[in-house]
Symmetry: C2
Amino acid sequence: MSEHIVSRYDDELKDVQRRIAEMGGIAERLVDLSVTALTRIDTVMANTVIMEDRRLDEIQRQCEEEAIRIIARRQPMALDLREVIGAMRISNDLERIGDLAKNNAKRVLALDGQFQSKRFMTGVEHMAELSLAQLKDVLDAYATRDVHQAFEVWKRDADIDSMYTSLFRELLTYMMEDPRNISLCTHLLFCAKNIERIGDHTTNIAETVHYVVTGEALTQDRPKQDESSVTTVTYADN
Amino acid sequence: MSEHIVSRYDDELKDVQRRIAEMGGIAERLVDLSVTALTRIDTVMANTVIMEDRRLDEIQRQCEEEAIRIIARRQPMALDLREVIGAMRISNDLERIGDLAKNNAKRVLALDGQFQSKRFMTGVEHMAELSLAQLKDVLDAYATRDVHQAFEVWKRDADIDSMYTSLFRELLTYMMEDPRNISLCTHLLFCAKNIERIGDHTTNIAETVHYVVTGEALTQDRPKQDESSVTTVTYADN
């Protein structure tokens, strides 16, 4: 390849990576805003999340189109091909993270004016803080192609899953205490599930960083501690 | 390209498509089994789903590796490239459908021995029937590269979303009627949500069929009728 072509190709790859960095910034912001909107039942902030998520969808489409164009025109091999495939995967995960933040924001609209209790929010807030920290770390790991940092993020996902399982039990107990809690706690259960899913997409990104850098899939079994699906709380009739 | 190479390339593409067809068959079976397991609270059947989902994960990994190998070695263009990209996307969606069926199966294990009522199951069963019919149709559309059939599937997803929204309201009402319903109905809410997500992945597949055949993305706004996120039921204290 002539130097001229190589340099244009490099520019194209960098352009895709620049879009991923932009998507990462927006996704972080949406996760952060959606949880603040939830804990304050702030519908203005919730509507901002819903609006801004569109931008994420738009960049994701551009990113994917650009990646496919690079494959078709430049026929990348080895590391370059992994970079392009990796960018497609990560842009997908970031777009899904935006959708999940948007879904939480929509629930704020449902909860506006409903019976509320601050104490129910604490667990969701803690889960969100942890998942946001994980998201920041994995985006750093991608930016610096740091496999070790990616692996640390990947391992820590089990903590989010454990928090989710105990929060599931807690919210079910609140519902049984007082039927007026049912609507709020059901939406909070789904918010918590969305945050747990954000954690899963963050773990996917960690796996992609590993694949891009090493060319190998992370073969260990995923650290999975979400036991909520097999958890119930039995109502004790007093 | 020599005829010999072209024919090996064709074989590789067909091999990927054969794997997708196998995945489609397994995904249909898992969705079907998981719902029957749920309506009968049949833990043996539920465990079968959990076991068989591993096979789906395994084929998905093979499928993706094979697709990347084809891109690297054969440098496909135009329709061939779309076929490979399409196969990667569809295998991803089918793998996720398997995960969602597995999650519903896990909930059967949680509900075993809990307070149950047949009448709560009807709505989930109907949703599942519709989403299974959609999945079959979209796999047909993929097998025959039928854009019109894919578009019909795509449009009908709105029906699943509407069913989900009314089921959400119904299950919340049951919880408010009697706190002994809370555990069961919460799990059924998540099962319904999982089926709604299966519908979304089916819609993704319809979009991919459209992309593979026409080279264009489906640009219309997605038919989205899931209003459950903004739905609440207020407890009327009698």
